[in-house]
């Protein structure tokens, strides 16, 4: 086992040391792939070490010093990963920034982190940095990957990535000591040095720079690599945002520790195709991706022939009955196994192949609660989908499901070597091997988040189920009460609603009010498809959202959620009494969602205050004007009269449970 599962030895307490180790013991194994001009290009570990060294040596010539902070902005490109490695090798601190951050957000991070260099993907990012130069005055040089459109720019402080490597390679040829000097730099790195700074997504206000040390990162990654038995034969698709802890942990850190290969997609639009081609063995996606996949599959099945449809639905039934039990290693009758085998041959296998899930050994989802039916759907197909719960401050893992002990409604027991307590306020607090050192230049926030003896506050409310698995209800500060005292957990309600393919997003209100209400965003894919089938014509999202038949459909969904809520004792009081369908899609560009697509509740409450008022004043429609930001940064206004619907109250009679079934 010790041989099969590569764990980092104590000598390798920084990522550059791991890089050298990988180049030494598995130099010929693939380390990173990228699809370029339609063909997958592969770099082995020893080639990666060469690329990183060339860039690092060139970087020094441009004035890079130990301790320099380097912003990394762009999508998942090999050279951006190399820039991270090169920075760490020379004792600098990489600071990845979300590629789709607007100039304002970028400026904030650049200024806050005292960034002196930026390694970016393309002209778009260069332009953003140039546009905020006055606020990020510490920036000395910008290095870019894709030269397209940058030909006529002033290149005094702007350098193509390949040129920097060229400088490094020339130095390597002319100076015999350069290679040694580079190794000495890596040797000088200590495990307690800050390895990376990741900015929080800013769900709760201004984003903070979370400082993580190399030894802690590697300790955490080593634990989970062993936990999920990852080896250098595994492969992952690196498509998650570079600036998110998930990518840095799951792909970068675990890849380095286990020595597996990460594949960078051709472009963000081709991720689904690339997924199919690579067929990763380790996969992570937020629930939203699984949801979209399922929606797409279901929509496309409706276009299939009758025979195929019947086969599909029959075997999905079989999978529902036996699939998860087989996956969990429970006893299943022989007929069940045979039927399931046949289903694998006819339906599940081909379906997983289409989705790119054929080779998956371990898949995780996290970030939002996942609908139990959605979760079971994938597991019943034989995919080892599990949940984890984590955050940037923990360097991801706080809890994770162990193979065979997986439940949709929990996020699993504490991850290896993680301690968890539930504070008296109901908040989850933890101590973990990967936990952060401090927030950058923000001692006050550090003190608030981390106690003297090292317990970190998550800000999430949760409790342990009887079998020791953690259940997260909601953000601790979001859990509220209705005026009659009954519990109101908005996310719980929203998640139930969002499980319907027609509903893309929901925002529930009710804390301190008489009853619960919701805003709903319809899913344009799914409802649009329905409209096409039913000859409903529409010109825009707004028009479709206001259609009476769409309202009718959503009303049924809300009613069904209400029946579910009533069936659960604790939640019975918070059934939805009134709802409306928003006239625009919630969008990160308007600040309504975070860059990781989470709802920013308080912002929405403020922005749509008149609509919330209308939900509680009994009126049946409301005229609103909303400012929107287009993708190119300009703003405009959307005007609409939004209809509000009342829901009949579901009586919480003893028989309610049967009625709901």
């Amino acid at each position: 086992m010790a041989d099969a599962v590569a764990a980092a030895s104590p000598a390798e307490d920084t990522f550059p040391k791991l890089l050298l180790r990988n180049a030494r013991i598995r130099g010929d194994r693939p380390a990173i792939r990228e699809k370029d001009l339609g063909i997958w290009q592969t770099w082995t570990w020893s080639e990666v070490a060469d690329e990183v060294r060339a860039f690092g040596l060139g970087f020094q010539e441009l004035g890079f010093k130990r301790g320099s902070r380097v912003a990394i902005v762009g999508s998942n490109r090999p050279c951006l990963y190399w820039a991270i490695m090169a920075t760490q090798a020379l004792g600098g601190v990489p600071v990845p920034v979300y590629a789709d951050a607007v100039a304002e957000e970028l400026a904030q991070v650049l200024a806050d982190a005292d960034v002196t260099f930026a390694v970016v993907e393309d002209q778009e990012q260069v332009d953003k940095i140039l546009s905020v130069r006055d606020r990020a005055a510490t920036i000395e040089r910008v290095i870019y990957d894709d030269p397209r459109g940058l030909r006529d720019y002033d290149h005094a402080r702007l350098h193509p990535f390949t040129h920097v490597q060229e400088i490094g390679r020339r130095r390597l040829e002319s100076d015999p000591g350069a290679a040694e000097a580079w190794l000495a730099e890596i040797d000088a790195g200590k495990g307690s040095d800050i390895s990376i700074m990741l900015y929080t997504s800013g769900t709760t206000g201004r984003s903070k720079g979370v400082m993580l040390s190399g030894e802690r990162c590697i300790a955490a990654a080593s634990d989970t690599v062993a936990f999920d038995k990852l080896t250098d034969r595994d492969e992952a698709l690196a498509y998650l945002p570079l600036a998110w802890v998930g990518d840095h942990y799951l792909n970068y850190a675990q890849g380095m520790v286990a020595g597996f290969c990460i594949a960078c997609p051709e472009s963000m639009e081709t991720v689904l195709q690339d997924l199919r081609e690579i067929g990763p063995t380790f996969y992570f996606a937020p629930p939203r991706v699984f949801e979209n996949n399922l929606t797409t599959v279901m929509i496309r099945m409706e276009d299939a022939g009758r025979l195929k449809q019947r086969m599909f639905h029959y075997f999905l039934g079989v999978a529902k009955k036996y699939g998860e039990r087989i996956l969990n290693g429970e006893r299943v009758p022989l007929t069940g196994r045979l039927l399931y085998g046949l289903g694998e041959l006819l339906v599940y296998g081909p379906l997983k192949n289409v989705l790119g899930f054929s080779r998956i050994r371990v898949a995780y989802t996290a970030g939002e609660a996942i609908g139990p039916d959605l979760f079971s759907f994938y597991r019943s197909l034989g995919m080892n989908l599990k949940q984890l719960y984590g955050q940037t401050e923990a360097f991801l893992y706080v809890t994770a499901h162990a193979d065979g002990h997986v439940r949709a409604d929990t996020v699993g027991p504490p991850a290896p070597n993680v301690e968890i307590q539930i504070a008296s306020s109901g908040e989850v607090i933890f101590r973990s091997p990967g936990q952060f050192v401090a927030y950058y230049k923000n001692e006050e926030a550090t003190r608030e988040a981390q106690t003297e003896d090292g317990w970190v506050h998550t800000g999430d409310a949760g409790f342990f189920a009887k079998d020791g698995q953690l259940k997260i209800i909601d953000r601790a500060k979001d859990v509220g009460k209705l005026t009659d005292g009954s519990l109101f957990a908005p996310k719980y309600i929203e998640n139930k609603l969002k499980f319907f393919p027609n509903i893309k997003e929901a925002v529930a209100f009710g804390d301190g009010r008489d009853y619960a209400t919701v805003f709903i965003n319809i899913d344009l894919n799914s409802v649009g498809n329905w409209a096409e089938r039913n000859n409903v014509s529409y010109g825009s999202y707004q028009e479709l959202a206001a259609h009476p038949d769409v309202y009718g459909m959503v009303e049924e969904h809300v009613a069904s959620v209400n029946r579910d809520l009533v069936a659960e004792e604790a939640m019975a009081g918070s059934q939805i009494r009134r709802f409306l369908i928003l006239h625009k899609e919630l969008d990160a560009d308007d600040g309504e969602l975070t860059r990781t697509q989470k709802v920013r509740r308080s912002f929405i409450a403020e922005r749509y205050a008149p609509l919330i008022e209308a939900l509680y004043d009994g009126s049946d429609e409301k005229y609103v004007e909303t400012e929107v930001t287009f993708e190119d940064g300009r703003t405009g206004k959307i005007r609409a009269t939004v209809e509000i619907r009342d829901m009949a109250e579901v009586p919480s009679a003893p028989g309610a449970r049967e009625a709901a079934e």
């Binding site: 339609g38 063909i39 459109g149 030909r151 006529d152």
Partner: protein, 273 residues
């Protein structure tokens, strides 16, 4: 100009930036009794973006058809790369080094993006039917070479995600981009764009503008375009020629044309001082 090695290789007979690439001299074109173009002269210089504007029926598309040799004018001369041009047959036109896109997209709807752009390479494929039939060997090697050029174009236009999608299923803006890709595949000395942004929304127009500028800057391709969106024309082009009722009424840099009273009267529709 060549996609194989951006901006580096140029045809031996292609001139320096600023040389006249194509000259139209005193050209008149009529269909029966209808005079589409009357005694028009202007030139297109190497490496520039040249816009042709004018109200509906001004003769813009006819002018484009004259330039690419589809129509042969009854009067006047066309000089291309320093040579006077004779009446041409369609396949000769294709080999002339002038590629174009169309006002109403003319792609093979049932074929994939990749195949559509590959058709742009047809005139450059040299292996005969015999080798094509055998396939293995020379013909296959040739296709691989051409495929690489096409893949560079796909990368350039950021349409990797629709590489294998049949064009008929694509939204309009993307179809326009595929058509541009096909024109680029011919590695033209002169690229003619007939209303590249007609019917697009703001975002698609911005994307397309960026691609046009990038093609011009990165590959040094000379571009002549017809466009109705004045903002786009004034932003993109180095020089503008204005037609009205088949006659030239203005010619020069955008700022100059914008101030030309004849142009204002005929087209821009701004009142006199």
């Amino acid at each position: 100009m060549a996609f194989v090695d951006p901006g580096q290789i140029r045809d031996a007979d292609a001139g320096q930036k600023g040389d006249v690439l194509l000259r139209v001299e005193d050209v008149s074109l009529s269909f029966g009794g209808v005079k589409a173009i009357t005694a028009i002269s202007f030139d297109i210089k190497q490496g520039e973006i040249r816009a042709i504007i004018g109200p509906n029926g001004a003769g813009k598309t006819s002018m484009l058809n004259v330039i690419n040799g589809f129509y042969h004018p009854q009067e006047g001369e066309i000089w291309f790369r320093g040579k006077k041009r004779k009446a041409l047959k369609p396949h000769q036109i294709a080999n002339e080094g002038i590629a174009r896109t169309f006002q109403n997209i003319a792609l093979f709807k049932g074929m994939s993006t990749l195949d559509n752009i590959m058709t742009g390479r047809l005139t450059k494929m040299k292996k005969n039917m015999f080798w094509q039939a055998i396939w293995r060997g020379p013909a296959e090697r040739e296709e691989i070479e051409h495929r690489e050029v096409v893949e560079r174009i796909i990368d350039f236009l950021e349409i990797q995600h629709i590489r294998k999608t049949s064009v008929g299923r694509l939204p309009y803006g993307l179809q326009k981009r595929v058509e541009l890709g096909r024109a680029l595949a011919a590695e033209p000395a002169l690229l003619l764009l007939d209303e590249p942004m007609a019917g697009m929304n703001v975002e698609e127009k911005e994307d397309m503008s960026r691609f046009i500028i990038d093609v011009n800057q990165q590959f040094g391709t000379t571009i002549a375009l017809i466009e109705h969106d004045m903002g786009v024309v004034m932003d993109l082009s180095d020089r503008v020629v204005v037609l009205d009722y088949g006659k030239k009424i203005g010619d020069g840099p955008p700022d100059e044309v914008r101030r030309n009273q004849d142009v204002i009267d005929a087209y821009l529709g701004v009142a006199h001082d």
